[in-house]
């Protein structure tokens, strides 16, 4: 009897261990989940939350940074998204998720410089405690979460890439984020809810 108990206990331990060591296990939001609000410091020193935007219909939340070449490739297109959709109720909120000791190029000061140099029209927030990006399940920069405001909260409607060609904005065939926002604005289903792209892993100590 004692051995049986030991075996069961051992099996439970092994099972638990394997559950926690699964390297590809990525919790985080799926389509339809309610995304958490945040209170993060913007480059102007003020704290920003989605709750501040009383008139918004939703948000284009983009985890991005200064140092990732893919993120840099998309800077102009992120500005365009904000210009096109902020007035229609879907502003861009950019969040920089990296540990700045590992990536000094993403420090708060460097975020301020980059935003100024590029003329960012949207908040560029720092995820200082690195507590927000894991809840969303972001793994890389750039990584987009399109949220739609509802009575339940901000519901995730799209997760993934901005479009289908990082190299050349002119060669883009499918604008994933624009298609998704346009669909929401028209009260339609988002045509493609999840896409993937190569990006830089989010830097953690």
């Amino acid at each position: 009897m004692k051995t049986l108990k030991q075996i069961v206990l051992l099996a439970a331990v092994v099972l638990m261990a394997s559950a926690f060591t699964n390297s590809t296990d990525n919790p985080g939001y799926d389509i339809g989940d309610v995304a958490t609000d945040f209170k993060l410091k913007n480059i102007d020193g003020k704290m920003v939350s989605m709750a501040n935007y009383t008139d918004a219909k939703g948000f284009i939340v983009i985890f991005t940074c200064n140092t990732c070449p893919y993120a840099v490739k998309y800077e102009d297109r992120i500005i365009e998204l904000d210009k096109k959709y902020a007035d229609k109720g879907y502003p861009v909120i950019a969040i920089m998720p990296n540990d700045t000791e590992i990536k000094p190029g993403d420090s708060f000061e460097n975020m301020q410089k980059r935003a100024k140099a590029k003329g960012f029209t949207f908040p560029y927030l720092i995820d200082e405690g690195q507590e927000i990006y894991p809840q969303y399940g972001a793994t890389k920069t750039p990584h987009v979460y399109l949220l739609e405001k509802s009575k339940q909260g901000n519901v995730v409607r799209y997760i993934g890439a901005i479009d289908d060609n990082y190299q050349d904005a002119a060669a883009v065939k499918v604008k994933y984020v624009e298609n998704a926002v346009d669909a929401l604005l028209a009260g339609k289903e988002v045509p493609e809810t999840k896409t993937r792209a190569i990006g830089c892993s989010i830097k953690v100590k």
């Binding site: 590809t24 990525n26 793994t139 990584h143 890439a161 289908d164 190569i198 830089c200 892993s201 830097k203």
Partner: protein, 166 residues
């Protein structure tokens, strides 16, 4: 005489083929789109392949690259082959990638993947890949595993051993 003509024809065909093959490359670098790369992710022979997706601009990739080189050295005799798939941008091939390969004297096979339609090919590499690099596949005829993470040398060896000791 007929034989000679035939030989010459064959020789020419061979030479022409070689030339066409070279044209697809950027000097000495092998560059593929995903269709070109895919067979290298699915070789069905007696070897165990360790495929690492990396780029010269990716700091964690550069940090772990020596471990893949070491693995290629230490496990060559055990029929293990490392393939390094660079995701550097095409305009960086000459400026960054080729000098890096030369300076570090990389011994593993390096190929460059140039295919901007990432949403199409990423799930073909692995359904669970969100797209962050570094990422690694270990596979042989009896199994395949995908890792979206960084490795230490010890972790890499431990994973590899689950393949070659089966």
């Amino acid at each position: 005489m007929k034989f000679l003509k035939l030989s010459l024809l064959l020789l020419c065909l061979y030479a022409c083929k070689e030339e066409a093959g070279d044209a697809a490359q950027s000097d000495d670098l092998e560059v593929y789109d995903f269709n070109g790369l895919e067979p290298l992710l699915n070789q069905n022979d007696d070897k165990t392949y360790v495929v690492n997706f990396w780029a010269t601009w990716c700091a964690p990739c550069i940090k772990e690259l020596p471990y893949f080189e070491q693995l290629n050295r230490d496990y060559k005799e055990k029929n293990v082959e490392v393939l390094l798939v660079s995701l550097d941008f095409p305009r960086q091939y000459d400026k960054k990638l080729k000098p890096y390969i030369k300076d570090k004297n990389l011994q593993s096979r390096v190929v460059a993947l140039n295919d901007p339609d990432m949403n199409t090919w990423i799930p073909k590499v692995n359904e669970d890949w969100t797209g962050a690099i570094p990422a690694t596949i270990i596979y042989n005829s009896s199994g395949r595993k995908f890792y979206e993470k960084s490795f230490t040398y010890e972790e890499l060896v431990n994973e590899l051993r689950t393949f070659i000791e089966n």
